[in-house]
Amino acid sequence: MFTKLEFRKREANRRELPPFAVYALGFVVIVLSVALMFSVVVSGKAAPKLAGLAAEKLEASGVENPVTAVLLNFRSYDTLLEIAVLLIVAIAVLPARSSNAAGVAHFCSADKQDVLNPVLAALLRWLVPLAILVGGYLLWTGAYSPGGAFQAGAVIAGAGVALSLAGRHEFLWHTTAARIVINLGLFVFIAVALSNALLTGTTLQYPVDYAGMLILVVEIAATVSIAAILLLLFTELKAMVDAPREGRQ
């Protein structure tokens, strides 16, 4: 299992198992799925104990949207580790710092000589600020209704993707600025968690009066990092996809 890995297009239909094993596996999976379905049907569903508790404590959480309250207050530890998971992938993908004076370079530069199609340039001039505005709105509204850091980060990363696809802007990930932007979310989250420990005596416990504000600070930092990491993943993977093609030409 997992030994004959392929990634060439011509091998797309290859299977790891001989035909009889495929049928046997299919049969086993169907039987197990039916058994699983059966076990779900015969067993009941627990009363929504946590829904009640969350609604009860919502007032003390600093936000009005219960999902945001769970993500950033009741179970904020999960979200902290989730940002750490993103950071792991970001560091793995992050290109090495080059020896030339990278520290001085700007994170996002428009120095490329490509001349943009005027329609595209005009569209970008509208689209990018709009996406950032929408991201900001999603972040802000997360406190009251569906929305929040991840959604906002995804939309803002979309603005970056549009910029990088248009071809004029380049994101330089080996710069110090890029490293700080990527780490900001986790760093601010830990800083707030530890300062909470000093204020209230318990790690990750927000003082009730400042909860809303502190959550917003954490969310803004998380949004910046999530947007940066998603953009990093896109541009780096795209560069790797393009690289061999350029080499062959």
């Binding site: 890995l5 091998e11 790891e16 799925s33 779900v40 829904a51 999960d78 989730e82 061999p244």
Partner: protein
């Protein structure tokens, strides 16, 4: 109740399809898609769990959001590794050892 069953059945079916695909397909992209389908199956079951008539339990929703982010991270890392291997192979094109 029917809705709940429908969601669960779909979720379990997606999970099963994902497991099958992840084991059978040899192509890495197919394996990754299969794994993501498995993930969606789990999320379907969680969403069905969240709904209790008029009351909605926010905890499974939060779990799904966290799960999505983790899935994105895992998928990206696998794709990155695949591309690294492809780049290495392109450099050593014709190398019998690869």
């Amino acid at each position: 109740m029917t809705q709940d069953l429908l969601y669960n059945a779909t979720g379990i079916a997606l999970f099963g399809i994902g497991v099958f695909g992840a084991i059978v397909a040899a192509h890495i992209i197919r394996k990754l898609i299969a794994l993501n389908i498995m993930g969606i199956g789990v999320f379907m079951v969680l969403l069905a769990t969240a709904r209790h008539g008029e009351i909605t339990d926010p905890v499974p929703h939060a779990m799904v959001l966290t799960g999505i982010v983790v899935a994105v991270a895992g998928t990206a890392l696998c794709l990155w590794l695949t591309l690294r291997i492809r780049l290495l192979d392109d450099v050593n094109e014709g190398d019998p050892q690869r």
